[in-house]
């Protein structure tokens, strides 16, 4: 099956935040209003950004950046949500299979299976997963963008595009086969370069083995607040690819060794008695 993806063109985005609203509406995530109860102070941050951060009920958020170059002020917009990596750190560490690679390439999430361990939070190079956790008991559940495939709210299997894409007025978000979007993205980057944006870049073509949310940028990723070289953390690799397999070997060898010892020692113990 052809891999699907979302292409976000930052140069076309008007930051209307319709995608934020559509995301919340479709996925039934109540609006995140700072109140005394949820402990989030309502404060003016001097930005149009709202809410202040991703949260278990905010899976998509637009970030605004004011960047000054050569005396010119630029107002840049970045879409913040799960990037749906091919080599996803979160899938690597998830102990229960709640996070998984969908046949269409993106990172699916089955909230019912989540154990609340929070391993995915530290393993994500984009700092996307969020959970509400009881500090004392550790009762927790993670949440993130599911590419609109949450059970019962699955737009993709019905043949619809994700809610954020559907609502985007300037077509800054488009959905389709990843190969086709790559071609469109490369073409856009060429156009931007021809216009003098020499740092224009298609983010997600190769990052993390290929992202399923790709960005057309008219400047280098760092300017947009994106990690230039995202990677699965070294500690995650050491833990998952070295220590855990070693644990299986050590545990297995111990059990086999004890079994062999039991058989040999029992025979010899009987000998002693005679």
């Amino acid at each position: 099956m052809a891999e699907k993806a979302i292409l976000y063109d930052a140069t076309r985005c008007t930051a209307c935040r319709g995608c934020q609203v559509a995301c919340k509406q479709w996925n039934e995530n109540d609006e995140y209003i700072p109140t005394v109860e949820n402990g989030v102070p309502a404060k003016n941050t001097g930005s149009y950004e709202n809410p202040p951060d991703l949260s278990p009920s905010t899976w998509l958020k637009m970030e605004f950046r004011e960047v000054e170059t050569d005396g010119n002020l630029r107002w840049l917009f970045t879409r913040r949500a799960c990037m749906h990596c091919t080599d996803a750190g979160c899938v690597k560490v998830c102990p229960s299979g709640a996070l998984y690679h969908d046949a269409l390439g993106f990172v699916g999430y089955n909230k019912d299976l989540c154990t609340g361990c929070g391993y995915c939070i530290e393993a994500c190079p984009f700092d996307v997963p969020r959970y509400t956790s009881n500090v004392l008991t550790g009762i927790a559940r993670m949440d993130k963008c599911t590419f609109c495939t949450t059970a019962g709210l699955n737009r993709i299997v019905e043949g619809y595009e994700p809610a954020c894409v559907k609502t985007c007025p300037p077509d800054a978000l488009i959905y389709g086969d990843r190969d086709e979007l790559l071609a469109i993205g490369r073409q856009r980057v060429e156009v931007l370069k021809a216009k003098g944006k020499s740092n224009a870049y298609l983010y997600g073509e190769r990052e993390m083995g290929g992202l399923h949310v790709m960005y057309v940028l008219d400047d280098s990723p760092a300017v947009y607040g994106l990690p230039a070289a995202p990677e699965v953390p070294a500690a995650t690799v050491a833990w998952q690819d070295v220590i855990q397999p070693l644990g299986w070997v050590v545990g297995g060898a111990t059990i086999v060794g004890l079994g062999v010892n039991y058989i040999v020692a029992r025979a010899n113990a009987h000998k002693e008695e005679k």
Partner: protein
């Protein structure tokens, strides 16, 4: 008192042992569900984490209570785990012959803990501390720590789990199943072992207690 028996472990030690056993085995299994993908479904709704934390409190507090009750004895016991000599090497060399084939020749006389027991005791102390520190930091420090720090804490918690988990299997096997370890169980259950077993398996210790009783 039965003349054929000698006391190996006093009641407070035995109580600590069994309380710690229950706590550690509980921690072992509630941790194992995050290690074996096929068991991951058992951890749904975080209830294994709740049990893990309750057991962790017992795991940490039980030895601390013992420390306050018998500080000198505890220090003496901890010192034992860190005192190693050439005789221990001799024991390790002779051990396979003994534990497989019942060949007692070449086994140096042992103190109240033989080298193998001492090794396990050493691992219990060292990795118990590693478990407690990494666990408490993961429990209470998660929000304040960097992602890198949290990942390395999980890494070391896992290393401790693998080493002490494998050694636990060995410990249980020797105490319960091994055909020649006939009195290990009663040493930790009733606290007493036979004079004969004490003399043949813990010669140095038996000589010590015999001497102190005579004087």
């Amino acid at each position: 008192m039965n003349q054929d028996k000698v006391e190996k472990y006093r009641a407070p030690i035995r109580i600590l042992h069994w309380v710690h056993t229950v706590a550690f085995v509980t921690l072992f299994f509630t941790g194992l569900v995050l290690f074996v993908p096929q068991l991951g479904f058992l951890a749904q709704d975080s209830w294994t984490r709740v049990i893990h934390r309750i057991a962790a409190v017992v795991f940490i507090i039980a030895p601390l209570i013992y420390l306050t009750l018998d500080f000198k004895g505890a220090v003496r016991g901890v010192k034992m785990a860190f005192t190693w000599s050439g005789e221990d090497l001799g024991w390790l060399k002779a051990a396979p012959g003994y534990y497989f084939f019942g060949n007692e020749k070449g086994m140096p006389p042992q103190g109240s803990l033989n080298t193998g027991q001492k090794l396990w005791w050493f691992i219990v102390i060292v990795f118990g501390v590693v478990f407690a520190i990494t666990g408490l930091l993961l429990w209470f420090g998660r929000a304040a720590l960097s992602a890198q720090a949290v990942l390395w804490l999980i890494f070391w918690h896992d290393v401790a789990f693998i080493v002490s988990g494998a050694m636990l299997l060995l410990h249980v096997y020797l105490g319960v199943l091994h055909p020649m370890m006939t009195e290990s169980w009663s040493a930790m259950a009733s606290g007493k072992i036979s004079r004969e077993y004490a003399r043949t398996h813990h010669g140095k210790w038996y000589a010590e207690i015999s001497k102190s009783r005579e004087s």
